[in-house]
């Protein structure tokens, strides 16, 4: 199956099996209705359709394809540790639900059978201190004594950052779609609010941020097998992280009080964006990484570095 067919399949699966109710019940946290229920049904369908193996070494698909899938999952706010499932499947052999920890914090460690840490340890016996990010996505502390050292690629942190870039760019696109639909339907003063110039300009600004994010994310994926990958991911994490704040703000403003309710699905995307931009390095961390590279080549070669033409 080509990746386009797989993406089509995934879109159908996500449309049919990933709704607001499932996302709500998967949320973990201190509020009564945050039950932290792992979406077992969705997980079963994903395994049955093989979508948990996209990007795997024997799947006939690539790591770039995995990022495309993660982008789509971001667009649907899939309440699974989906990036961690695909990335661990690519780099670690073995069975069972495997998650990846940033330091000692891992999505859904409470449900996982194994944990891979981003510094190259494989853990299969561990305790969990449950926690969550501000989107209510389980982010559990993994407590362990014994681990096995495994080999991860040297740019593994960039690969994990790329998962957040891809997921964010998907969620950003969803926010633009939701907002365009909403301002076209919502009527005030006798006409759809999309007719007001102030609203149009906010949505246009949002579209600019979303398009920049998509392009930055795609450019990083395109650079995957080159020595430009890390710098492109860095730039994308910076640019998309910045866009996340702007776009979430405009989306909420456009949706008014309606979008501030728990009942509306808008927050499933905005809260995830607020959380994901901080995971695997917020903007400033990656800004500094690029900044130091630019300074290292010096003013007169800064353009070469930026334009990828150091000959």
């Amino acid at each position: 199956m080509t990746i386009d067919l797989i993406l089509d399949t995934a879109e159908r699966v996500f449309t049919d099996h990933c709704n607001k109710e499932i996302r709500d019940s998967a949320e973990s946290g201190s509020i009564d209705d945050q039950k932290g229920l792992f979406p077992e049904g969705l997980w079963t369908v994903i395994q049955d359709t093989g979508l948990h193996q996209v990007g795997g070494r024997e799947s006939g698909t690539t790591l770039a394809d995995a990022f495309r899938m993660i982008r789509l999952a971001g667009k649907f706010a899939v309440p699974l540790p989906y990036p961690e499932i695909l990335i661990s499947n690519r780099f670690v052999t073995g069975q069972g639900l495997t998650t990846v920890a940033e330091g000692v914090i891992a999505p859904w460690a409470r449900r996982a059978e194994r944990v891979v840490t981003d510094d190259g340890q494989l853990v299969d016996e561990f305790d969990v201190v449950e926690g969550a990010n501000l989107a209510g996505e389980p982010r559990d502390e993994v407590v362990f004594e014994n681990s096995k050292s495994i080999e991860l690629p040297p740019n593994f942190r960039a690969i994990m950052a790329m998962t957040r870039v891809a997921a964010m760019s998907g969620a950003l696109e969803k926010l633009l779609e939701l907002t365009i639909d909403y301002v076209g339907e919502r009527k005030q003063f006798g006409r759809p609010i999309s007719g007001f110039q102030a609203v149009q300009h906010n949505v246009a600004r949002m579209a600019g941020e979303v398009a920049a994010s998509t392009r930055a994310s795609d450019a990083a994926i395109e650079a995957l097998d080159t020595d430009r990958f890390v710098i492109q991911v860095s730039a994308a994490k910076v640019r998309v992280g910045e866009a996340a704040g702007v776009v979430a703000e405009i989306a909420h403003q456009a949706h008014g009080a309606m979008g501030f309710t728990h009942e509306h699905e808008l927050h499933h995307y905005t809260r995830r964006l607020w959380a994901w931009r901080d995971e695997y390095g917020h903007e400033k961390e990656w800004q500094q990484l690029i900044g130091r590279q630019v300074v290292a080549v010096g003013a007169d070669r800064a353009w070469e570095l930026i334009s990828d033409c150091a000959h």
Binding site: L176, I180, A211, A212, K284, R292, A299, W303
Partner: protein, 379 residues
């Protein structure tokens, strides 16, 4: 993606990349060491430099050989223009002729016009100004009042064009004028003429800008006679003609690189051991430039493929212009009181003083957002 927004992946092909080093070496050789480099395409009018570029074949690159062009791709032109801008070279003399007037003539001009006007442009000897805005027509271009009346064998022009950059230094203007009633669409009855800026009946008055420069002009036509051969395209087709080039006008590297030399001088200023905050700012600005560049190249690819990415081009310009205004605002906070000759201070001041024009020229931010909103189906 959704309708109206589609930035397809694109890479500059090897034959385009191959030009890069040559351009870079050329600029280093030709620019005097004390030249204050500026990445704003409007700054730096040098006939000498333009002629040297012409000799290298770097003007009219995409035009057919029979008109002096290079039969090259948009990608190759892209590399040359972005290298010149990034290096801060003086390109304003030939810029409009190369980007806009030449392509307009290629598309709508007569064979005689192409043979007459294009070869001198490609040699870097003939420069054009834009004749669109007027005292009462800015963003609302369809409201232009300058009129051309048919007479025996030609036309008589009366009216005033405004904000025509370098009209006091350039040779020709392509003027958008009214030749008939505007009709219900308001877009009818417009035509374009090539006007010799040194002809009788043409008065060019420079207008000093806030930087103290005289770059743009008021151009008054008083019974200015132009011959039939100066009509570009068909009578009444002016609106289609002026809007057809917007994709080219709005998405190029000049729409996000205007402040680039401030970035370069800032990198030089912080030296080898920057603070974390300085590194972060440099990285932030670099991330924006890298992303805008990817978007701009994507539009170049769509143009090369014969598509009409009007919304995407408006979006690149809008994002890019906002960025080039933000860049000096962020850098200045890291550059305390520098001496009057310090390159960073000179670059910062020059860019700040010209920055109001970034979001006005070639389509204001407000117009562009309207174009984008239309592309998204909101209007």
């Amino acid at each position: 993606m959704f309708s109206g927004l589609d930035f397809e992946p694109a890479r500059l092909p090897p034959e385009a990349e191959a030009l890069r080093v040559g351009v870079r070496d050329f600029v280093e050789r030709e620019l005097p060491g004390d030249y204050l480099r500026n990445s704003d395409f409007n700054e730096g009018h040098s006939a000498e430099f333009s002629q040297k570029l012409g000799m290298r074949g770097w003007i009219g690159m995409t035009w057919p050989k029979q008109y002096g062009g290079g039969d090259r791709s948009f990608f190759e032109r892209y590399v040359v223009t972005e290298e010149l801008l990034a290096a801060g070279a003086p390109v304003s003399a030939h810029w409009i002729a190369d980007r806009q007037s030449g392509p307009l003539l290629l598309r709508y001009g007569t064979e005689d016009q192409k043979l007459k006007y294009l070869p001198p442009i490609t040699r870097g000897e003939s420069y054009f100004s834009i004749g669109m805005s007027e005292p009462d027509s800015g963003s609302d271009l369809a409201s232009v009042q300058t009129r051309a009346s048919a007479v025996d064998g030609g036309w008589i022009l009366n009216g005033t064009k405004l904000w025509s950059t370098d009209a006091h230094r350039n040779h020709y203007m392509v003027a958008l004028v009214r030749t008939g009633p505007s009709g219900e669409s308001r877009h009818e009855g417009l035509s374009q003429f090539i006007v010799d800026l040194h002809a009788n009946g043409v008065t060019v008055r420079p207008i000093k800008n806030i930087a103290g420069d005289e770059d743009f002009n008021e151009v008054v036509f008083e019974d200015c006679v132009v011959s039939e051969e100066n009509l570009v395209g068909a009578v009444g087709n002016g609106w289609e003609q002026v809007t057809s080039e917007l994709g080219y006008e709005r998405s190029g590297p000049e729409r996000f690189l205007s402040a680039f030399r401030v970035f370069v001088e800032f990198v030089r200023y912080v030296g080898a051991s920057p603070s974390d905050e300085e590194s972060a700012l440099i990285g932030r600005l670099a991330s924006h430039i890298m992303t805008l560049r990817q978007m701009s190249i994507s539009v170049a690819a769509m143009l090369q493929a014969g598509k009409n990415p009007a919304t995407e081009a408006a979006l690149v310009k809008s994002l890019g212009n906002d960025f080039e205004k933000t860049l000096p605002e962020l850098v200045r906070l890291f550059a305390p009181r520098l001496g009057p000759k310090h390159p960073l201070r000179c670059s910062l001041e020059q860019t700040l003083l010209h920055s109001p024009s970034f979001t006005i020229r070639g389509g204001t931010r407000e117009i562009l957002r309207g174009v984008i909103a239309r592309g998204l189906g909101l209007r």
